[in-house]
Structures are given as structure tokens and as C-alpha cells.
Point group: C2
Chain length 240, copies 2
DNA sequence: TAATTTCTTGACTATTTGGTCAGGAAACAC
DNA sequence: GTGTTTCCTGACCAAATAGTCAAGAAATTA
């Protein structure tokens, strides 16, 4: 993750670092953190609603309940705030694939991953939307991140999946495209929420409907990924 | 489809309708049509790149190669142009499901649908992105369309799929969520193109890579949808 | 050709918006 | 307390932008 959420004038660090380094964070620091957190949450909401260009700093400030000038004190430019929001989101993105290891039981691990992603879509739709919007417009801000961290992550997890396939534990599907599909489907329930609601004929997708969606998605992918029943393991791994 | 692409002052219609109604469209009409088409294409590109808020009419006019005031002659407001672009796109959306009928061979029909959607993603990425952007922001402009036409279309096709399932010709998956998944995955190759390229480690997704993606997506869904081999048809339909 | 309608466009305007700034209020250190 | 740093904010500004307008060019009709 790049340099996260520490924008705004940071002159205080110099003095502070000497007297109260490891001690409890001085109040001053806490004011800053608290305000930045409030601004980040507000910004996430507004950016999710309107995109980068559509969002105005005045909107964000209003949503956060602070004067615009105060926002600019912490985040001198709109883009700084946007970056901070994205960095925040990207941090969440990373941990999710942790369960996908060669040691894990493939189907269970994939199911858990899907459920985690679906939960995420429900819990943080704004984060997902900001992310989607950024990528939709060519990832001008996080392109470098995608080409580095994300690409490496996928490469690493693709290796795991290839091992699973070699051992006949899951069906022979292209691992990278499998990830694209998993992301696309799980995030569609956050990003395209309005479409889902429209087709389901409701104003807002209910909790139950989201649970149904989760089961449907799990069923779909598990069917796709389940090996063809014939011959199990072939070598290596933990044999029957 | 709502009232499509006929904005701008339309005073000419009154007079015209009398003299040359069914005859070849008078030149005047052709100038209008040609210019509107040019503007629509340009607008689609720019809206896809920047979203509604991020796009400026000056950008669109420049892309179309006409003065800004001329654009406003045909589309008095930015929103009119946006609506026209969306209406244009929605028209394309409709026909695609034509092959999904009870009579069709389910797996072949679904495969054809997927391939068509993937081709669409490649051929009209801008259309897809404008659409995605609109939905991402809550479908303020086409929400009504989604709740009416799209919902009805899905309901109708879901019926077809339920018949297929009842006859044991495809696996018992929720039809509506199957559609969400199909759309999500196929459109991800247009909308999230930049992410796909980043993960694949290229600047631009090549033709070959898109073909590979198509095969991967087809394989994934056909595996998911294929019935469990046990007992085929049960009643009705065209028996073996 | 003359009359009429459609089209074109440079120049202009009102509004919105990102960002600045100076002066003062808190918070903190000593 | 006194001094110093951090924080707050109303007022302001320059740039960008959607939309207007009037005057004229081009096309079309009679």
C-alpha cells in the first residue's frame, strides 16, 4: 500500500517525535486523526455517489459537517482526499485472498472467499463504488498499484489455483479469468445495486435478497469449479 | 425504448410532413441526422472517458469537430445529449437475448449469448462504460427504463430458463442471478478493461487475449450450467 | 431570384467550484 | 501565565463551464 492517509501539513511530527514518541498519542494527534477519519468517511460517500468529477469539495465538507476551508486544511487538494479514500479502500482489498493457499481445501476456500466478497459488497458498497468508478475511468490514480501489487497478488494466487488444478482438486479453469469473474460477480451487487434492485422490482435490495444472491453466486461458482468427479488427486498434496 | 435521439429544435417537421412525407429524406433532414450522429459518437466517447459530470460540452464539441454553440443547437442541454447516448445504447441492449427461447438448445443458446456479450464488450466498450457509469451512480436517468423494460425482459427470460431447468436441460440455478452474473462477467471486460490489462501485464488487452477471455468465460459458465448428467428430460419439450 | 427555413458560430454571461488567506481560537509546552 | 504550535473559518478569487444570443451563411422552396 502506498503512503496512506497522512496528508495535510505535517509539521507537528518533528517536534512531537522527540518528547512523546512511543507514549500515548498526544491529543493533538488525535484531533487530526479524528477529523481525517470523518472527512474520509464523508468523502467516500460523496465520491461513491457522484464520482471524482461529480463530487464537490463543498458537498464533502457539508457531509462531514465542517467548513470547506477546514477540509482544505487537512487535504489541500481534492485529489489528495480522493487518493486517501482510494488508499483506504485498497488496504481492505488485500487481505481477502488470504484463505486461498495450496494447503486449504479448494472448494471450501473458494466458497469462503466468495462469501467474504459478497459480505464486503453489502457492508462497504461505497468503497466498492469508488473503486469501480476509478477503474471505469482508466484507473488514472491507482493504475500503478494495479500493475504492481494487484498483479503480483493475482499471479501468486493463480499459482495456488494451478496446483489445485494439477492435483485434480478443482476443474481446469483459467485462474486469472476465474478471478476476474469472481470479482465481477461479487462486486456487481455493490456497484450495480440500482440495476439489481430494479430487476428485482424493489426500491432497495433487502438483507434476505442479498443472502439469496450470495447463495446463488456460491452455487454458480462451486458448480463451475467442482472437478469432474473422475480420478481424484494424481500426485503430491495430501492424498486421500 | 423511450423517445430517442430527436432533440434540438424540430420546427422543420411540421412543414416537411406535408410535402415530402414518405419520399426520400430531404437533404435538410440528412444534415441534421449526420450532425446528430457525429455528436452522438463523440459524446459517447467523452462520456465513457469521463462520466457525465467529468465530461464537458466543450470536450464533446471538440471531439466532434464542431463549435460548442453548434452542439447546443442540436442538443440544447448537456443532459439531452447524455439521454440520447443512453437511449442509443439501450437499444443495442435489447436484441441480445433473442436466442434464449424454450425451443433452443440451452447450452448452445447460452454459449451464443455469452459470445455475443463478449463481442459486444470488445466492439462497443464506450457504450458499455457509459451504461456502467450511469448505473453506478444510481441510474438517475434510466432508472425508469430498468424498472420497466429490463425487468420485464428478465422476467420473461427467467421463465424460459425455469423451463429448461424443469426439463433437466440445465442445472437448477436461480435464473435472475444467473443473468446478473452473465452481465457482470462479460461487461467487466469492457468496463474494467484497465484492471484486466493491468493484471495481465499489458498496456492494452490484445485481440488474442480477449478471445482467451471469451473461451474462459464460456468454459466457466457452461460448467456451471451443465446439468448433473443424471436423468435427462422429464416431460414436455422435445424428448430424445 | 426572392423568400423562408435551417444551420453555423464568435462573443458573451451567470454560476459553480477548487483553492487561498489572514486573523483568530484552541490546544499544548514550559 | 507566556509562548508556540495546531486548528478553525468567513471572505475572497481565478478558472472553468453550461448555456445564450444575435447576426449571418447555407440550404430549400416557390
Amino acid at each position: 500500500m502506498p503512503e496512506t492517509a497522512c496528508l495535510g501539513q505535517s509539521k507537528q511530527v518533528g517536534k512531537k517525535a522527540q518528547s512523546a514518541t512511543t507514549a500515548a498519542p498526544p491529543r493533538m494527534q488525535r484531533v487530526r486523526d479524528r477529523n481525517q477519519a470523518v472527512l474520509l468517511r464523508a468523502a467516500e460517500r460523496v465520491f461513491a455517489r457522484a464520482g471524482f468529477a461529480g463530487a464537490t469539495v463543498a458537498d464533502i465538507a457539508r457531509e462531514a459537517g465542517v467548513p470547506k476551508a477546514n477540509l482544505h486544511y487537512y487535504y489541500p487538494e481534492k485529489r489528495d482526499l480522493y487518493r486517501a479514500v482510494l488508499d483506504n479502500i485498497l488496504a481492505l482489498w488485500l487481505g481477502e485472498t488470504d484463505g486461498l493457499t495450496t494447503e486449504a481445501e479448494p472448494l471450501a476456500a473458494l466458497e469462503a472467499y466468495i462469501r467474504a466478497k459478497m459480505r464486503f459488497s453489502r457492508a462497504y458498497p461505497d468503497a466498492s463504488r469508488v473503486f469501480a468508478n476509478e477503474i471505469l475511468h482508466g484507473a488514472p490514480e491507482i493504475g500503478a498499484y494495479l500493475r504492481r501489487e494487484l498483479r503480483q497478488l493475482v499471479a501468486s494466487k493463480a499459482t495456488v489455483i494451478k496446483v489445485w488444478i494439477k492435483d485434480g482438486r478443482i476443474a481446469p479453469l483459467d485462474p486469472v479469468h476465474l478471478f476476474f469473474a469472481l470479482w465481477a460477480v461479487t462486486q456487481t451487487y455493490a456497484d450495480f445495486d440500482s440495476q439489481v434492485a430494479a430487476v428485482l422490482g424493489v426500491r432497495k435490495v433487502s438483507v434476505q435478497q442479498h443472502l439469496d444472491a450470495t447463495e446463488a453466486v456460491v452455487a454458480l461458482f462451486l458448480r463451475a469449479v467442482r472437478p469432474d468427479a473422475v480420478r481424484r488427486q494424481r500426485s503430491s498434496g495430501k492424498p486421500a
